[in-house]
């Protein structure tokens, strides 16, 4: 199956939403050739990816998207956070519009990273379209620390201070990763601020009881943005949920891309393999 990606724009209520599509095309999903490994009984629901704070499908999913697309259809959605469209209900509407245009009538495995996890959780509440849900570095409700970070970013941004770049890189990555890599800072457009505000305001307390799809929560041990406690809290709040932990900073798609792929690939193929309520055993390679 081809893993070449195509880009398509879908207008939802006046907002142009960028969609990166791989593993299927306009004619739809060709079920032949995507039966992973030829071993029966696996789900091949399309995977829908939502990027995180300061990221886009292109920056966050440069590894995950093409490699997931080797075994299943994948759609990455760059929601429009700018202007007045960045409120949570507006983002949920955007996602609903995109899915009904691009994958009409299909159930999907929805993967949200960081602020994308906030949108994914809100979207998945009482929504039969979501066959399974993966929340990577999610936050249930913003803490004082989240609000402090958002405020600090806001000050630096308003002052045009270059220290903003340093703060973003500092907060998104683990010390270990920064020893060896020079990552890019968050995107400089308004979306990052809108995403950070959304994160700092987020409260999923009401949505969580309505999440019934099989869910996997991925927490990162050195996450200085969402915090690993937020992930644990989501795990503890959901009845049909498993938990995996990765030794990484918030930017886990940059720090441990293959491990995220492994965790997601296993879960979306066999959402029920890991019992609800259990913690994924470390791989011990």
């Amino acid at each position: 199956m081809s893993s070449a990606a195509t880009i398509r724009t879908v207008n939802v209520g006046g907002v142009d939403v960028l969609c990166t599509i791989s593993g299927f095309d306009e004619r739809g999903i060709d079920a032949r050739g995507i039966d992973e490994h030829g071993i029966g009984g696996q789900s091949v629901d399309p995977v829908v990816l939502l990027a995180g704070i300061g990221g886009t499908a292109a920056s966050d999913f440069s590894f995950l998207l093409p490699l997931l697309a080797r075994t299943r259809p994948v759609l990455a959605v760059d929601l429009g956070y700018g202007g007045g469209s960045g409120r949570l209900d507006g983002l949920v509407d955007q996602l609903a519009g995109v899915l009904s245009a691009v994958l009409p009538g299909r159930r999907v495995s929805l993967v949200g990273f960081s602020v994308g996890a906030t949108v994914a959780a809100a979207f998945a509440a009482d929504n039969p379209v979501v066959a399974s849900l993966v929340l990577v570095t999610p936050v249930v409700h913003a803490s004082r620390r989240h609000r402090m970070l958002a405020a600090l970013r806001g000050h630096l941004d308003a002052a045009g201070d270059d220290a903003l770049r340093v703060l973003d890189i500092f907060s998104a990555h683990s010390a270990m990763f920064l020893e060896k890599h020079s990552p890019e800072p968050f995107s400089k457009d308004g979306a990052t601020s809108a995403q950070m505000s959304l994160f700092a305001d987020s409260d999923l307390t009401e949505a969580l009881p309505h999440l019934t799809a099989p869910t996997l929560v991925v927490g990162c041990t050195h996450d200085d943005i969402a915090g690993v406690d937020g992930a644990l809290e989501v795990f503890a709040s959901l009845s049909n949920c498993r938990y995996a932990e990765i030794d990484s900073g918030h930017a886990v798609l940059a720090e441990r891309p293959a491990e995220v792929l492994a965790v997601i690939r296993e879960f979306v193929s066999h959402p029920a393999r890991l019992r609800a309520g259990s913690v994924r055993e470390e791989a011990h390679p």
Binding site: H37, I39, L67, R70, D247, R256, A258, A262, A283, P285
Partner: protein, 497 residues
């Protein structure tokens, strides 16, 4: 050994490298089975016993290139040298109590399945053996490939393969020729250049080389791993997942391939200033198609002239004169063949005779195949470690070996649970597995990269050496035994005198 009854045990392992020792350790620790490990040489270690050439070292981080169930906190370097790995394997064999199970200087000449007794019968240089389960862990880089070069037999001086280094030959003041530019040659050339009078390297195809950036571990590094619970597992995990990301380079993902190629070509540009020399060292195929070497010493040795690059194959030898395909003649005292191994056509396969009297090499006449990379239709109760599609170009072989060991232990448990004696995979299951791997291989750099390599069988152009996916996927798919596709039978009733 005529007249002596064959020695009978439950399980025989052939080979005592990482595969055979790992299997033996797990059998000894986790089971009550009787087993022997047959080894043709007089020590354990496999590759790391045989390869003692100057500069021999591993290209995989030492904390990853070791058994997960025998972590070693005091590896001396990020990339261990060969002798440290060999000591690790010797210590493993001794400390795990494997010595009583080992039979050294025991070269197996034939392994034949006897259907009437449902046993494997082995003929060896130390007598006959009989077993129920045969595990071949004979290695994939264990049989030197000696090139056919006119005049080679009459060369007027020592000639030896890189994996059979003749330490009796003093290279000081000698004119040394090295044939090949694989991983061994790249380690050997700069080291030999330090002592020899001159070194000529015969290069048929240049390799991609990336910085090695090796470093010694400090005492505090080692103590941290020793003192802090979980620290060594954490380090190993990080090394594993870092390496795992490299698979993206092997399927031609532009975002992964281009930076990787830039690193290699940047390394070449930084170390070799002469544009003519640089051009001769620049590969014409895609990076990753052949094994990517790690060296900080190779290019400087060429650039400084310490190693003279003959960028053509060694075509013939007359007396002391070596003539390259370019026509250039070089006077040599010693010739080193760093020409690799019989990887896709392992010689052990000619000695394994299955259910229908067919040799494994015959079953594999179009290339190696196995279900779950481990079992072969027509060869009951046979398991092959490090055989078809069980190697990696981007991560640790030990991870693959441990995965296969878990699979084999699972298969043996399954036999016990269903009170069976004979386990054999169906041809249909094997064919389906192979078709699926061929499908996954099609988009990999090993088949699309425009090179010839020891990963690909030249009889069928199939990728038979490498697993065409992530190492984690191998663990997911092979790490536990799945009985679907297998037939289990009980043993035929035999009358014992």
């Amino acid at each position: 050994m005529n007249g002596i009854e064959p020695i009978e045990v439950d399980t025989i392992i052939v080979g005592s490298g990482f595969g055979g020792l790992g299997m033996g350790i797990r059998l000894a620790r986790d089971t009550e089975r009787t087993f022997l490990i047959l080894e043709r040489a007089d020590d354990v270690g496999g590759t790391w016993r045989d390869n003692t050439y100057p500069g021999v070292a591993c290209d995989i981080p030492s904390h990853l290139y070791s058994f997960s169930f025998r972590p070693k906190t005091d590896w001396g370097r990020f990339y261990a040298n060969g002798s440290e790995i060999q000591r690790y394997l010797q210590d493993s064999a001794r400390q795990e109590g494997l010595l009583p199970h080992l039979r050294f200087r025991t070269e197996v000449s034939q392994m034949r399945w006897q259907a009437d007794s449902a046993r494997w019968h082995l003929e060896t240089t130390t007598g006959s053996y009989v077993c129920r389960v045969l595990i071949v862990a004979a290695g994939r880089l264990s049989e030197p490939r000696i090139p056919v070069i006119p005049g080679l037999a009459d060369f007027d001086g020592p000639v030896f393969h890189s994996s059979a280094w003749d330490h009796g030959v003093d290279l000081a003041g000698k004119r040394v020729g090295i044939v090949g530019t694989g991983a061994s040659a790249i380690q050997i050339a700069p080291n030999v250049a330090r002592v020899a009078d001159s070194v000529v390297l015969f290069q048929r195809t240049p390799a991609y080389i990336v910085p090695r950036a090796d470093r010694a571990y400090s005492d505090s590094d080692k103590r941290l791993l020793e003192r802090v619970p979980g620290a060594i597992e954490r380090l190993r995990s990080r090394l594993f997942w870092d390496a795992e990301a490299g698979f993206a380079q092997r399927i031609g993902l532009p975002d992964a391939v281009e930076p990787f190629r830039d690193v290699a070509l940047g390394h070449l540009a930084a170390q070799v200033a002469d544009p003519v020399l640089r051009a001769r060292l620049t590969p014409a195929y895609e990076i990753g198609c052949k094994r990517v070497a790690l060296s900080d010493e190779f290019y400087p040795a060429i650039a400084s002239g310490a190693v003279q690059l003959e960028s053509s194959a060694l075509e013939s030898l007359t007396g002391n004169t070596a003539i390259g395909a370019s026509g250039a003649a070089h006077e040599l005292d010693v010739l080193v063949l760093a020409t690799g191994f019989h990887s896709t056509q392992p010689p052990f396969a000619t000695r394994v005779i299955g259910r229908d009297g067919i040799a494994l090499s015959e079953r594999w006449s179009r290339g190696m195949v196995a279900h779950a990379s481990t079992t072969v239709a027509g060869f009951p109760n046979l398991f092959v470690i490090d055989g078809p599609n069980a190697s990696l170009g981007h991560n640790s072989a030990v991870h693959m070996i441990e995965t296969q060991i878990s699979f084999i232990l699972g298969a043996l448990d399954h036999l016990e649970i269903v009170t069976g004696e004979v386990l054999e995979v169906s041809r249909e299951a094997e064919d389906a597995w192979v078709r699926e791997l061929d499908r996954r291989s099609a988009s990999t750099v090993w088949l699309t990269g425009g090179c010839s390599s020891w990963y690909v069988d030249d009889r069928s152009d199939r990728l038979t050496l490498l697993w065409p996916d992530f190492a984690f996927a191998f663990r997911d798919e092979v790490g536990s035994f799945d009985p679907r596709g297998y037939r289990v039978r009980s043993a035929p009733v035999t009358v014992v005198d």
